[in-house]
Each structure stands twice: as C-alpha cells, then as structure tokens.
C-alpha cells in the first residue's frame, strides 16, 4: 500500500491552473523526486499535500486516510513534515528553540530527547550553535536547521521543496549527503528539485512535471540522461513566463 497517494489533483489560482490531474504516490521507505522547471507546479503540489493550499479537485490519501479536509497543522501531527521553499524557520529564535519546536507534535514528544541527539549527530554544525539566532546563520546552515527541525517531528514522510535553492554547489553536495543519511534511516521522502543530477542520485523513483501535468514516471536510474528530462527543462523555461 502506498504511504502517500495523490489522485487527480488540480490546483487553481483564480483562472490559472497550476496543477492538472496530477497523480503520484510514495511507498513506505521510498524516496521520490519531482523534477520540473520553474513554474511547472512543483511547489503547488508540495503545498497541496501539506495543506497550505486547497486543491480545486482530486484527493490526497496518507496512510490510507483521506486528508483533504485536514488543516496543515493536523497533517504534521499525522506525520507529514514539509521543509518549504525559503525554509520557513523562525529567524528570531535560537537554533535550539527551532529544533524544539520541530518536536512540537504530540507524536514526537515522547522521544524528543533521542531525536534531538540524532539530529545533532546528523548536523554536528548545529550542535556547536544551539544558542545562535537561526536568522543570523548562513543559507546552508539555515537549511540544516529547517531539515533538522522537520526530522525532529519524527515524520513518516519528509517533504523537501528545492532544498538546494540558493546554496553553493559544495554546500548542496554536503546537504544531499546528509539527506542520503536521513533516507538510509528509513524515512520516506518526497523531494522537489531543480538540480536534476543530485535529485536523481538521492531518489528511487522520479516524476517529471511539466506545465502542471505529470508527463513521465520512471525509476531514478532510467531518468538519468533521459532526453525527455532535458527537453522538459528547456521547454519549462518558456512555460515559466506566464
């Protein structure tokens, strides 16, 4: 059974249709990447799953349960954690408080102590800077805070929207190494990424999203070097100009 099952999802902003009949699924323990150019609808898809935008039609099931009507904070409680584009951390709070807030869901509270240890082992840099205000850190470190905070909620499904955005190539490489370790720990992941190579290297499977439609689904290895993928990105550039 799929952990996450999205069926026929449509998202509209006024008359603009950002997603059209999108169906994807993520299995338990699987890492899935959504590839697509700017404006293809990747962020809309993530936001719809997290409950930050209401779909126009379609259904979203998580662990067999329909979650379409759940507000976003309840979806976090159910086990979906989103690291949004722009990270969504609390810049005015310390790194420690940001991480503690990650453990806010009831589900995560019991093991908060051991999860915190795990996060700090994963990101030793954060352990050195627990008292620093999150907003004063570098972009890469803020991304670590955002991911660490999401891991703190002991998610069943970790969603990352463009984790490499705005990061230097070396930092991106490091970040994907960290994500690989999160994956190996058994967390299911849904990742949106413009960095095709890094995204496919991390994922088991991938979808290609073009102008709000899923045009291709294949194992990550098969998508590497696929002409459809490179074409989608070039075509996507035209779509990006609405």
């Amino acid at each position: 059974m799929s952990m996450l099952e999205v069926k026929g999802l449509a998202v509209r902003y006024g008359r603009h249709e950002a997603l059209h009949e999108v169906s994807i699924n993520v299995a338990e323990g699987e890492t899935v990447v959504i590839l697509g150019a700017n404006g293809a609808g990747k962020t809309s898809l993530m936001n719809a799953i997290a409950g930050r935008v209401s779909p126009f039609s379609g259904s979203i099931r998580f662990l067999g349960e329909e979650i379409d009507d759940q507000p976003s904070h309840d979806r976090v409680e159910a086990g979906i954690a989103l690291v949004p584009e722009g990270r969504g951390i609390f810049p005015g709070l310390s790194v420690r408080d940001n991480l503690k807030l990650g453990g806010y869901p009831k589900r995560a509270r019991e093991n908060a102590g051991s999860t915190m240890e795990r996060v700090l082992t994963l990101f030793p840099r954060l352990a050195e800077r627990l008292d620093q205000l999150a907003g004063t850190m570098s972009g890469g470190e803020q991304q670590m805070v955002a991911i660490g905070r999401a891991v703190m909620s002991a998610p069943k499904l970790l969603m990352l929207d463009e984790p490499s955005l705005g990061l230097a190539p070396i930092v991106t490489q490091q970040l994907f190494g960290d994500l690989e370790r999160v994956r190996q720990a058994g967390t299911s992941m849904l990742v949106v990424e413009q960095n095709v190579r890094a995204g496919l290297k991390l994922a088991d499977r991938g979808y290609l999203l073009t102008a709000g439609r899923i045009v291709r689904e294949a194992a990550a290895a098969d998508l590497q070097g696929d002409p459809d993928v490179s074409r989608a990105f070039l075509g996507g550039l035209e779509d990006a100009v609405h």
Binding site: H73, L82, L93, Y104
Partner: protein, 290 residues
C-alpha cells in the same frame, strides 16, 4: 528625595509593565489591537473594590478569582467576537482595522455598563495604606505589595513563556505566524490562548491598580493608550521589552512629576513615545526587521 522618587517610580512602573505585558501578548501574538483592554482592567478594579468594601475580600485573595475570570472572559471574547474577524480577514492590515472597530465598540459597551452600575464618580478604597520605612523612605504598604505582585506575575509569565510548550508556541507565532503550522502548531488556538493570557494580565493589573490609585468608569481609555505606548516602545510582541519600557515610563513619569511639574507627566510620556517612533520605530528593544 531621589531614592523615594525612584521607589515610587518602580511601583508605578510595575503596574505599567504588567498592563503592557498583557497588551503585547494580545497585539503581538493574537494580532488583535484591543482598544477595550483598559476597560477590562477597570472592570477588574471595580470587582476588587466591590469585593473588599462589600464582602471584605482582601485584594490579593480577590486576585485569585479575578485573574482566571479575566482569562475566561477574554477567551470567550476571542472565540465569539474576534475569531470570525480573524477568519475573514484577508491580510494583517484588514484584521487590524476590523479588530480596532470591533473593540472600539466593545469599549463603549463596557464603559456604558460600568457607568450604569457605578455612575460617574471617582472610586477607590483604602487598604494597608499605613506607611512603612524602607531604606529611609516612607512608603505605603499597599504600594509595596502592588510592586511585589507585579514582579511576581511578570516572573510567572516569563516562566510560562520560556519553560512551557505553550510558551514556545507563543514565541513561534510571535516570530513567524506563517511558519508555525509547519511544526504542527494550531495558530488559531495559540492566538486564542495568547489573547486570554493577555486578558488575565489585564485583570491582574486592574487588581494591583485599584490598590494604589483611584479610578472612574471611564479611566480605561487612558490606560489602553498608555499600555499601547509602552508596547510600541518595547517592540510589539516583545515581552522583556514591554517589561523594561513599563518600568522606564513609570520612573520617568514620577521623576518629571517630582522634579519638574506634575502637570507635565503626560507630555513627558508622549514626548518619549514620539522620540522612540522617530528614532527606533521597531521599539527600544525591537529588531531591525523580522
């Protein structure tokens, strides 16, 4: 003279700080500009007076009942009057205008009810007004008690905000409300608690206020304005800021009254306020952005 003025300033500042803490919770976290804030405070002052003069309930004992009452009243007010405004507001500016209009109406309702019951006279009661000697200064016992209550309540609030789960959620919502749902925080619920907690502080402030000052059914408006000045000086939503600004204003007012002219206290208050707005619009302790 200097030391006694400082002590009186601390007493006044303690009440101000208490009052401003509540308003900064309501404005900074619930995003409700509550113009009826001071009237809740005065209602608490009337209740305290009534309890003391008619039923001989001592003010600190009355506080144990009035503070939870302020909490429940404000919680229900949020649920039934303000939450509908929050839900329909398209953005923060719209909510600000709606909440100002709604609580402006509430202000008149509350003042009307109090005028109806108590009339327009000046009220007050005397309890523990015997003077004690403190480091060579003669000061009324009730003033010292009011200061002690203010410090105790501020400390309690500080512990709630820094040591509890709700407190952490309050800080998160104050810092970035749009990010709070990402960690599973129900922002609407937290906003309701923050508003109720603010009402509890107003009620506590009212009890302390009634012990050291006289008041009328319409005194609330001036208190709301003063609390707002302190909140903005301290930085909206900034609890330590409100605390410091409250004490600073209390001390300034007593010094101006003692050494320059009592008629100038209000002018001094707003003079400082203007200065802060011009030089540090995010408050004395506010961050430049975010």
């Amino acid at each position: 003279m200097f030391f006694s003025t400082l002590l009186f300033g601390l007493v006044l500042g303690g009440t101000y700080a208490l009052v401003a803490l509540g308003l900064t919770l309501q404005y900074g976290i619930s995003r409700i500009m509550n113009l009826a804030y001071g009237d809740l405070l005065i209602a608490a002052a009337f209740l305290t007076m009534l309890g003391f003069t008619s039923y001989s309930v001592l003010p600190p004992i009355a506080m144990l009942l009035i503070v939870p009452l302020g909490f429940v009243f404000s919680y229900l007010l949020y649920l039934f009057v303000l939450r509908p405004l929050v839900r329909r507001a398209e953005n923060r500016a719209a909510l600000e205008i709606d909440s100002i209009l709604a609580t402006f109406g509430l202000l008149f309702v509350m003042q009307g009810v109090m005028l109806l019951i108590f009339g327009g006279n000046i009220f007050g009661y005397s309890w523990l007004d015997n003077a004690v000697d403190l480091f060579g200064v003669r000061i009324a016992t009730n003033r010292l008690l009011a200061l002690a209550l203010a410090i105790l309540l501020a400390l309690g609030l500080y512990l709630v905000v820094t040591r509890t789960r709700l407190g952490l959620a309050l800080q998160a919502v104050a810092n970035r409300p749009e990010s709070a749902p990402l960690v599973g925080i129900n922002v609407e619920q937290v906003a309701a608690y923050a508003f109720a907690l603010g009402g509890a502080m107003a009620a506590a402030g009212g009890v302390a206020f009634s012990m050291i000052q006289t008041f009328t059914a319409t005194s609330g408006t001036a208190l709301t304005l003063k609390a707002l000045v302190i909140v903005i000086m301290g930085g909206v939503g900034n609890l330590p800021g409100a605390l410091m600004a409250g004490f600073a204003l209390g001390i300034t007012e007593t010094f101006v009254a003692a050494f320059i002219d009592p008629g100038l206290t209000l002018a001094a208050t707003y003079g400082i306020f203007l200065l802060v707005l011009l030089i540090r619009p995010n408050g004395l302790f506010g961050k430049a952005a975010g």
